[in-house]
Symmetry: C2
Subunit: 226 residues, 2 copies
């Protein structure tokens, strides 16, 4: 999954690049519009992130040229605060979305996924694995040696979090932040309930992975040693 960033502010470009790489995208960065167009036309990218204000050639011109050549690659425009009128123009020329600076990394990532989905691209969520567990996060189900069971969204997010944090202990607060959002008033008991749901399903699957409680600290995934 390869993404091109065309952004002249080196600082921002670098930050974007870091964020995307951390999320397993391959990233190329160029700092001016002329180069940007050349790279974009190469056709190897799965998505373009174009700043609107650029030296050389602005983002919308790149977009127009790309679309003029019949290329259908998803494009997201980055716009500075004052540029909101550009929004309309951008979308008219075939942008899939725009994000106004400043934006959070989560927002950007979500919009990238959304843009790809709209274009019918496969968003490759690689199967999450731990021990004998295999979690399919997009259409939530859990598989252990062929046997599988459906998870509901919250169960899936919880298990995903536990798997991603591997052997680290995950606190209830962290779980609440991830599953219910940071300013939620969700109760600790909610976490316990979903841990309980998951354990029940692990039992059903006869998995030899356990969710271990570290009292007053949190939860960890562990494999039964036999």
């Amino acid at each position: 999954m390869r993404i091109l960033i065309v952004e002249d502010e080196e600082h921002l470009a670098e930050a974007l690049s870091q964020i995307l790489k951390k999320n397993r995208y391959s990233v190329d960065v160029v700092h001016d519009g002329e180069d940007g167009l050349d790279y974009a036309l190469s056709g190897i990218y799965d998505l373009l992130l174009l700043d609107i204000m650029l030296p050389g050639m602005d983002g919308i011109s790149i977009l127009k040229t790309v679309r003029g050549k019949g290329m259908d690659v998803p494009v997201i425009l980055l716009t500075a605060k004052g540029e909101i009128p550009d929004k309309i123009a951008g979308l008219d020329h075939g942008a899939d979305d725009y994000v106004a600076k400043p934006f959070s990394s989560d927002e950007l990532l979500a919009r990238i996924r959304a843009a790809m989905r709209r274009k019918g691209e496969v968003v490759p969520e690689d199967a999450l694995k731990f021990g004998d567990l295999e979690l399919n996060a997009s259409n939530p189900k859990l598989t252990v040696r062929g046997k599988e069971i459906k998870l509901n969204p919250k169960e899936s997010e919880l298990l995903e979090l536990l798997i991603l944090r591997k052997q680290a202990v995950t606190s209830k607060e962290q779980i609440i932040e991830k599953l219910w959002g940071f300013d939620s008033e969700a109760e600790h008991n909610n976490v316990e309930v979903y841990i309980s749901f998951l354990r029940k399903k692990l039992k059903f699957l006869a998995s030899d992975t356990r969710i271990t409680t570290i009292r007053s600290v949190g939860y960890v995934l562990e494999e039964d040693r036999e």
Copy 2:
């Protein structure tokens, strides 16, 4: 509800100020740490937004001094990307939260509400009104001339959106963005279902406010003229 912003980047400070004012907070801005401390100690603020990097005196020192004087005002630290280690230090000295730049305005507002809630401050959600309707959004219920009925969260958000947009027509897409998030795959029919729920409750309350459908455009609130 009065908020002090201590932030040296004038551009950012101004943006923050705009956002907060738009959300009905009174805002004061100062650009260096020394002044920041003076203002903060005045005790008139309901919340402090402190940048960590500041000329004169850094945000954490302000925080320490304020807490040293026994003041319990909610404090949110603004941190630049590289400063994440500061996070721990900040929270140790009694910050209620921190936000890393860049952040979205929604995130900031949510964290402000969260910080105030944690401190037990009353978050004054002024009653939303339209015609004979009165919507209490925090503990969702809808009142018409004394008679009231409980709303569930989604109903409340939907009605709030319709009320805030007054006489403007609100499209299903806008509603989906607000209620389910912009990259959700929620169906149009969900909107129709909740519109239907709301209409049922309006009927029950014998309100003379209607939700009118504008075919293939969206929905508007209207008052029955008699």
